[in-house]
């Protein structure tokens, strides 16, 4: 259905527009560029909407966990609507706030940092498959691309901490750098396991390799890796209980302590976009992406609607993982910085290395039902 809409847009709006504005020789290139831009916005606009409402969901869910109501005042047109207008009100407020650049700060880096934090978390969506065909860039090195971009995100944090010229921000940046580097390794090895299991770096191919039933998904043969990957993902996004880089009770706000207004909110959005990204990746890599959990089941699997692959399954799975993020935040105390390091190097890294051997063995031996 989405393809049809896109084709209609391409045919009736973009085509004529290009025809009018661009010389004939460049028309096909211009059309291609325009089409890609439309596709990008078709991914990013819903994503930013999700990010905005993820903040609302977080406040609401954690509110209910803590016996409070959460935001419930700001609505639309005089109706309260359970506070659904809150994210928009927040954005408007932040846009109108002054961005203060501290006197001792390195101005250029100070401004670049939030952009550097935000860009990779958006760019990574290029290779995320929403469906067999719905993917912006169906490249073979998708997993490598993801790994490269998620590693880039740390530069935003480090540069922010450095450019702020504040001790709290600096400590936060140092912590974050060490933490992300350590967890990057565990995460990298976890991805290697998936790569060995699926025999492909293409995310769409990885999902298809999991088809069969809920037991064919990689969470089962790669169970320790699944847990390591998701926990590393939580650590990578600087979320509780690994939020030492911005640990409120220690570093006030850590690396973004000097940022205000929209500059702060870009860091904030980057964090939430990263959460969505990690959740979607976990769903794609370990939980069969768009595949139906009822596929191959005795009774429910026969229902055409329930067993068919659908983008909705991906969204549901992603939401479940996002909920876990929020749940963790409401439940766990914060790790200390050195304890996070210990967990990364002494627990996760050995687990992933051992499991690479185990998975390789399983693949070579053709252990069913996953690898035959």
């Amino acid at each position: 259905m989405l393809e049809n809409i896109f084709n209609l847009i391409s045919e009736h709006i973009l085509g004529p527009a290009v025809g009018l504005l661009v010389p004939a020789g460049y028309a096909s290139n211009a059309l291609y560029t325009l089409e890609v831009l439309v596709k990008i916005s078709a991914i990013l606009l819903p994503l930013l909407f999700c990010v905005a409402y993820l903040t609302y969901a977080e406040r609401k869910i954690i509110g209910y966990i803590q016996c409070r109501l959460g935001p419930n005042r700001v609505g639309f047109f005089g109706f309260r609507l359970w506070g659904l207008g809150q994210p928009i009100a927040d954005v408007v407020k932040l846009i109108f706030k002054e961005i203060i650049i501290p006197a001792g700060a390195n101005k250029r880096l100070f401004v670049i940092a939030p952009i550097l934090a935000m860009a990779p978390s958006l760019a990574a969506w290029a290779v995320i498959p929403f469906d067999e065909t719905l993917v912006l860039a169906d490249i073979n090195a998708g997993l490598l691309y993801i790994l490269a971009l998620t590693s880039l995100a740390v530069y935003g944090v480090i540069i922010a901490g450095w450019a702020s010229n504040s001790k709290y921000a600096f400590l936060g940046a140092m912590r974050s750098a060490a933490q992300i580097v350590s967890y990057e390794i565990a995460m990298g090895f976890a991805l290697v396991c998936v790569l060995i299991a699926a025999g492909s770096l293409n995310l769409g191919r990885i999902t298809e390799a999991q088809s069969g039933s809920i037991l064919h998904w990689y969470w089962l043969p790669l169970l320790p890796i699944f847990l390591v990957y998701f926990i590393s993902g939580v650590a990578e996004t600087n979320r509780a209980p690994f939020d030492v880089a911005e640990g409120e009770s220690e570093l006030v706000a850590g690396f973004h302590v000097e940022y205000g207004g929209m500059a702060f909110s870009i860091f904030f959005m980057a964090e939430y976009a990263n959460m969505v990204l990690i959740s979607v990746l976990t769903a794609v890599l370990f939980c069969g992406g768009w595949l139906s959990p009822f596929q191959g089941m005795p009774f429910l699997g026969d229902q055409p609607f329930l067993s068919e692959p659908n983008i909705a399954w991906l969204l549901i799975k992603t939401s479940v993982f996002l909920f876990m993020f929020l749940w963790f935040r409401a439940t766990f105390p914060r790790y200390r910085y050195d304890q996070i390091m210990r967990l990364g190097w002494k627990v996760f890294l050995p687990i992933t290395i051992i499991w690479i051997v185990v998975v390789s063995g399983m693949v070579v031996a053709g252990v069913g039902p996953w690898f035959n």
Partner: protein, 417 residues
């Protein structure tokens, strides 16, 4: 080559974990603390000097504001000191009421501490759960004194008034539907004692819930076990009292060692720690909440069976009933004298201490025979604990400083006074 120096960092007074207005100057080698220099005085309100300037009774309200999360215990030490100088003993019912409210205050304080400590270490839901229960205890304060925090309820010679026979109830408003009000008022149908009894019944279950979240939580244990260890000998040398001392394994509790009021007739245990680290102090305080609940329950039973006066019948110290003033000359004179001049206290000096939730809270009072103290000195447990912070945090990391401030249960009202 430039000289490599340690980083000096200003921690507070505007810091989420500063517990009010603590300012720490930290000298850090990377994340590791080399030296912590607590600066105090940002909440100094000259309570001791103010007390010298007004009649005895008018300072009771200032005592509430010392340690503003354990209000009535502060009052208690103050009225005990005055009573000692005057040589009076309040009626036994008043003493039971005081003990009951001391223990309610202890639970209030420990709940606040548990929530804030949890929040410092990152377990933020704890804070809200603790405040849910605190709310009920605040209502007890309100029922008996009219205010939720600064009660000014204890008086030399007893307590201001008897426990109310009816618990105040919520009213229906535009934001509070009838169903909600009904649910809120469910436990408030009877007297204050019924309300407290219901709380006492429910509260151990709540403590179990807190413990489910924290006691066996691996992260919580990693953050608290072995952090800020104070050996028992050192704890005594540093002048620790209360849970800080008991956490180190010294069984010292004024309620047992120098019983005041009716503590010698009540059945309760004194929990002590083993290792003297943050985790043991956490366990001690949680167990103290359970013991306090038991004490409250015993007091409720006694108070139900034994009605009687709650303040001595000496109108040289205690104002007469309002009604008697209307047609009794002598009562009018007493009333006038008490509310203008107050009462005079015989010459002498006295030290009275109570087992405050944070430790030994003492009042040293010097009287020259006038209607106001010649000198009042507050012995605040938090001050002593804070002065050991430097020693406790050395070699620990920045995140542990926050845990240590939490475990000391610091409230600046009493430290700065």
């Amino acid at each position: 080559m430039p000289e490599i120096r340690n980083m000096t960092m200003n921690f507070g007074p505007q810091h989420p974990a500063a517990h009010g207005v603590l300012r720490l100057v930290l000298e850090m080698d990377g994340e590791v603390i080399e030296r912590a220099d607590p600066h105090i005085g940002l909440l100094h309100r000259a309570t001791e000097k103010l007390a010298e300037s007004k009649p005895y009774n008018q300072s009771i309200g200032y005592m509430d504001r010392l340690d503003y999360v354990s209000m009535m215990c502060n009052e208690h030490a103050y009225v005990l000191a005055i009573e000692k100088l005057l040589g009076i003993t309040p009626p036994v019912r008043a003493r039971y009421i005081r003990v009951m409210f001391d223990e309610i205050t202890r639970v209030l304080n420990h709940l606040m501490w548990l929530g804030a400590h949890g929040l410092d270490i990152g377990a933020m839901s704890m804070f809200l759960y603790c405040f849910r229960e605190r709310e009920d205890l605040m209502d007890c304060y309100e029922a008996v004194s009219g205010t939720r925090m600064h009660a000014t309820y204890y008086r030399p010679g007893g307590v201001y008034r008897d426990l109310p026979a009816e618990m105040p109830r919520y009213q229906e408003t535009s934001n509070r539907s009838r169903a909600e009000v009904k649910k809120l008022n469910e436990k408030r149908q009877g007297s204050l004692l019924d309300f407290i009894a219901a709380f006492v019944e429910r509260f151990p279950g709540c403590i179990d819930e807190y413990e489910t979240l924290l006691t066996d939580n691996r992260i919580w244990k990693q953050r608290t076990v072995g952090i800020g260890v104070v050996p028992p000998e050192r704890a005594i040398e540093l002048g620790f009292t209360g849970p800080m001392l008991r956490g180190s394994g010294v069984e010292w509790d004024l309620r047992r060692k120098q019983p005041y009021e009716v503590y010698d007739q009540l059945d309760f245990a004194i929990p002590v720690g083993v290792n003297g680290d943050c985790y043991d102090r956490y366990l001690v305080r949680v167990e103290e909440m359970r013991q306090s609940t038991a004490i409250i329950s015993q007091c409720v039973d006694w108070l139900r069976d034994n009605p009687g006066p709650v303040i001595i019948d000496d109108h040289k110290l205690v104002p007469p009933q309002r009604e008697t003033m209307k047609d009794d000359m002598e009562s009018l004179i007493h009333h006038f004298k008490l509310f203008t001049e107050g009462y005079c206290v015989p010459e002498g000096e006295v030290y009275a201490a109570v087992e405050h939730p944070k430790g030994e809270f003492g009042i040293y009072l010097v009287s020259d025979g006038a209607n106001k103290p010649y000198r009042l000195k507050v012995r605040a447990p938090g001050f002593v604990h804070l002065s050991s912070l430097d020693e406790m945090v050395q070699g620990h990391m920045l995140a542990d400083v926050v845990a240590m401030i939490g475990t000391q249960d610091i409230v600046f009202g009493e430290i700065d006074r």
